[in-house]
């Protein structure tokens, strides 16, 4: 059942993005930035947390989960260390994705040539 929810949620997020892309002048860069902000916004009231518990992996895959993980790491540290935690904990949970992307990009761009 969680696979059906994953399919529906991830598909719905992508569908909304596609509708915005097709019907406005916003580009893919605008849409991903907006979606990250929405993901962070939904976590003010723990809405995205509830979505993650129901939907599972389908909610972790779209870029909205990036905003969700940013604010989560920041708040977890803020509970311990106060306001400075918002700065120290910001990348705690997303570091794996960003670091992996940087490292893989570096390795692959060493070995592969651009194809027109």
């Amino acid at each position: 059942m969680i696979y059906l929810y994953s399919f529906l949620f991830a598909g719905a997020v992508c569908l909304i993005g596609q509708i915005i892309l097709d019907n406005t002048k916003l580009t893919a860069g605008h849409i991903t930035s907006i979606f990250v902000c929405i993901g962070a916004f939904l976590d003010i009231f723990n809405i995205y947390d509830k979505i993650v518990t129901v939907v599972g992996g389908g909610a972790m895959v779209p870029i909205t989960s990036f905003g969700h993980l940013l604010i989560h790491g920041a708040l977890a540290q803020a509970e311990r260390y106060g306001f400075i935690g918002l700065l120290t904990g910001m990348f705690n949970l997303t570091a794996s994705g960003i670091t992996a992307a940087i490292i893989f990009t570096f390795i692959f761009s060493l070995f592969f040539k651009p194809k027109d």
Binding site: G11, G17, S33, I44, V61, L86, A101, T105, K113
Partner: protein
Amino acid sequence: MRLKDYNEIVKKHMPTEHRIRNGIIAFVSGGLVGIIGQGLIDIYSYFLSIPAQDASIFATVTLVFVASLFTALGFFDKWVTICKCGLIIPITGFAHSMTSAGIEYKTEGPIFGLGSNIFKLAGSVILYGVVSAWIFGMIRFIIMGG
């Protein structure tokens, strides 16, 4: 790949009469990426016997790796022009934008080519993600105490 060029390519492959078809393709492909994500989480948490929270990190890294590799091999670009938001909105789009920028600009040298341009497209996601997470985190920390 420059942002302008990228947007021109996206625009060029987007005839207005195919909006419904685009939407369906984006829905199905995005949903399939979601299923793959959940499948990877289940596989990792079963075989490595770790909680789903940790397994989702492994799943994210796997998706990033696959997207980077396929971009480097050259056929992920074609998939993106077909699926559009179905692959741009998931984390695969983040990795794709970084790897395509990295490979494109490495000819201009390791510092001002690769180093300066690696975040050319993904930088906006990080910038606005961090700023919005900081603002909303501040709001929530003040109102609800964390």
